[in-house]
């Protein structure tokens, strides 16, 4: 049976209609756009200031925007010049913002052109240039009095900042910090990935290539446990951990993740190991190797693709887990919080602060995304091994 080797084969039939092919291209482009849009939104928002996020949708930040800005009150130190009291300053912190129109009343926010001078009450006047520099003059000292507000319409080019990341990652002490949670997540994830692989690899080899009574029952049990919802395990295991004195902590969460990850790990690895050529293993047996030597010197090196597949699964699953960490790890002190939990906390306390939420969320998903794109080949292979029969 010949299986298609190239994905272009379908396109190579004679007489295919080009219009159809264009429709395929366009609809796929649309779907990809649809799928990416939400994530890109988060990514871009994490580089915007709180003001920018709340004043415009993130999609408009990619192009130069002309928009009405929130009113700015004139401030500055007063100096005397030719008998006038003068305040000078600049409306915008960025050089790139260009003033299009301005006004001093909320009813007519676009009353004046840049460079024009507005005559205000009580002998005061205000001039604002296109770059946002202003000159305010008055006949009497304005000390102690409120200076006027300015309404502006200005165009600004795309503008991004790393301040959110700095705040979330490096300003250590604030309660929004993800730094500790980041470290804790690693501490949870690495052993919780390696230990089940280790246990599962040995068990999978035994189930694949060793002869012993009860083997097929064990295999069936693994398949059955594959679908047991971990929700069932929460209370009994929390009780169990308290009884044996582990309580809440890293050890407990590692063990829990090990237990929950094992069925899939054993299943995947056994399927892979069974597919290794029998001759190689028998040859090693004839060569005098014990099963332990066969496992460490031959099976393990040859099973690398399957080990990598499961490692990625388990890494993603543990890294992204919220439930197990909340139940088995995080105690009242909050010293051992992980990133998913920190984000949930932030959703509660900082629900409207999208610059913080977006940045925190992006910090938590950047590592899995890297792993995903670098190791995608193994991830796909593992998925196929796990579900296609």
């Amino acid at each position: 049976m010949r299986v298609r080797s190239s994905n272009k084969a379908m396109g190579s039939f004679v007489g295919q209609r080009p219009a159809l092919s264009w429709a395929v291209h366009l609809s796929m482009l649309f779907i990809v756009f649809l799928w990416l849009f939400p994530t890109v939104g988060l990514f871009i928002s994490s580089f915007r200031t709180a003001d920018q996020i709340s004043s415009s949708g993130w999609w408009s930040s990619l192009s130069t925007q002309e928009q009405q800005r929130s009113p700015i009150r004139i401030t500055g130190t007063e100096t005397q010049d030719k008998g006038l009291y003068v305040v000078v300053g600049k409306l915008f912190s960025s050089e790139a913002v260009v003033l299009r129109a301005w006004g001093t009343s909320s009813k007519r926010p676009n009353e004046y052109q840049p460079g024009a001078t507005a005559q205000l009450k009580r002998g005061r006047s205000l001039t604002i240039d296109a770059d946002g520099r202003y000159r305010f003059t008055a006949q009497q000292s304005q000390a102690g009095k409120r200076l006027p507000r300015v309404f502006t319409t200005a165009s600004s080019p795309p503008e991004f900042t790393f301040r959110n990341y700095d705040y979330i990652l490096f300003q250590g002490d604030n309660s929004d910090s993800m730094a500790k949670a980041f470290l804790n997540t690693f501490t949870v994830t690495i052993p919780a990935t390696i230990i089940p692989i280790l246990f599962a690899a040995f068990a999978a080899y035994a189930l694949a290539w060793m002869e012993f009574p009860g083997r097929s029952i064990l295999i069936a049990a693994v398949v059955a446990l594959l679908v047991v919802p971990l929700q069932l395990a929460l209370i009994p295991l929390l009780k169990f951990h308290n009884e044996i004195g582990i309580g809440k902590g890293y050890l407990g969460v590692w063990l829990a993740h090990t237990g929950f990850g094992l069925p899939l790990a054993i299943y995947l690895l056994r399927n892979y190991m069974v597919s290794l050529p029998r001759d190689i293993i028998e040859n090693a047996r004839v060569d005098g190797a014990t099963d332990f030597q066969i496992f460490t010197r031959i099976i393990l090196p040859l099973s690398f693709p399957a080990l990598a597949s499961f490692a990625i699964f388990q890494f993603l699953w543990v890294w992204n887990d919220l439930l197990v960490a909340r139940v088995f790890l995080i105690d009242a002190s909050g010293q051992t919080t992980v990133m998913t939990n920190q984000i949930v906390e932030l959703l509660g306390t900082r629900g409207g602060n999208w610059e913080i939420l977006a940045t925190a969320a992006f910090v938590s998903i950047v590592v899995p995304l890297l792993v995903f794109f670098v190791m995608q080949k193994y991830l796909v292979r593992g998925l196929l091994a796990g579900s296609v029969k």
């Binding site: 049976m1 299986v3 298609r4 994905n7 039939f13 395929v24 609809s27 796929m28 779907i31 990809v32 799928w35 990416l36 939400p38 939104g41 949708g57 999609w59 690693f186 052993p191 390696i194 280790l198 035994a206 060793m210 064990l218 069936a220 049990a221 693994v222 398949v223 059955a224 679908v227 047991v228 971990l230 929700q231 069932l232 209370i235 009994p236 050890l251 829990a256 090990t258 237990g259 929950f260 014990t290 099963d291 332990f292 992204n320 887990d321 919220l322 439930l323 999208w354 977006a358 969320a361 938590s364 998903i365 899995p368 995304l369 792993v371 794109f373 796909v380 196929l384 579900s387 296609v388």
Partner: protein
Amino acid sequence: MSPLMQGVTIIVVGVGLCVSYFFLSNWLLDRVFLPARGQHIDRNINRANAIRPWLFLLPAVIALAVYLAYPVFETLRLSLFDRDQGNAFIGLANYQQMFSEPKFWEALTNNLLWLLVVPALSTVFGLLIAQLTDRLWWGNIAKSLIFMPMAISFVGAAVIWKLVYDARPAGTEQIGVLNALYTFFSGAEPQVWLTLPFWNNFFLMVVLIWIQTGFAMVILSAALRGIPEETIEAAVVDGANPLQIFFRIKVPQITSTIVVVWTTITITVLKVFDIVFAMTNGQWETQVLANYMFDKLFRANDWGVGSAAAMIIMLLVTPLLIWNVINARKELK
């Protein structure tokens, strides 16, 4: 000691202990208890080979027994007892109490709604995308991008979609894309999507569909490629159009894969917790079983009803469990 060093130490010790178990136990077996030398060499080797499988299996079997098998029975027991009355056996009282709560029925109906919608749409989208990308030179890039949400945590996805659903008061600029489009096209007041009863369930489901479609697509795409080219060529020669080829030639040949994808997503849906927990926490009539259970266990501190809810989830999974085991046994033979 810095937290980093501390973390590294914990990691090294934990992993090291596990590795040394395997090496030490096998070393003891081969060198001390049943050495491969002396006059009983053949007997020793054969006995060592009979014992070794259990050395290999021991940690995994213990972990599976303690962390998955035992909890099933313990949860069943807990659901029949009451903690407040000194662990008295109370029969089905916990279940009765649970069935009398409207929140439970809300969770159950919502869960069934999820079961109907999410596996179906994820599989259909997955199949559609798998078929469309199959013809494209940039198909692999497209698939990779659609597959990407798979790597994102449910919590991260919740944040991403909350931004999409964000609502600002009428008259101000909408920063959530859904409201921006909605107000632009309909001119109506912006909606707080996640608080619209019934419909908000679908806004939550979108998140899971967004994540699971990639999974379905990857597997179905591989299945489509596994279809023998000859059958398609034969259909082309027979004059079938692309739609007919897809529905009459390709889909029937990958039915078993479609079923596998469907059931896998079904199991995921039954366990869905994080999305609801992070986005609405079950308010506005979006409760689901897993979150209902979590609520009972850790907020109301009612282990009895919580366990009863867990047993309901188990009950829903059981047919799939049996089906899986039967299939696996068939394969072993």
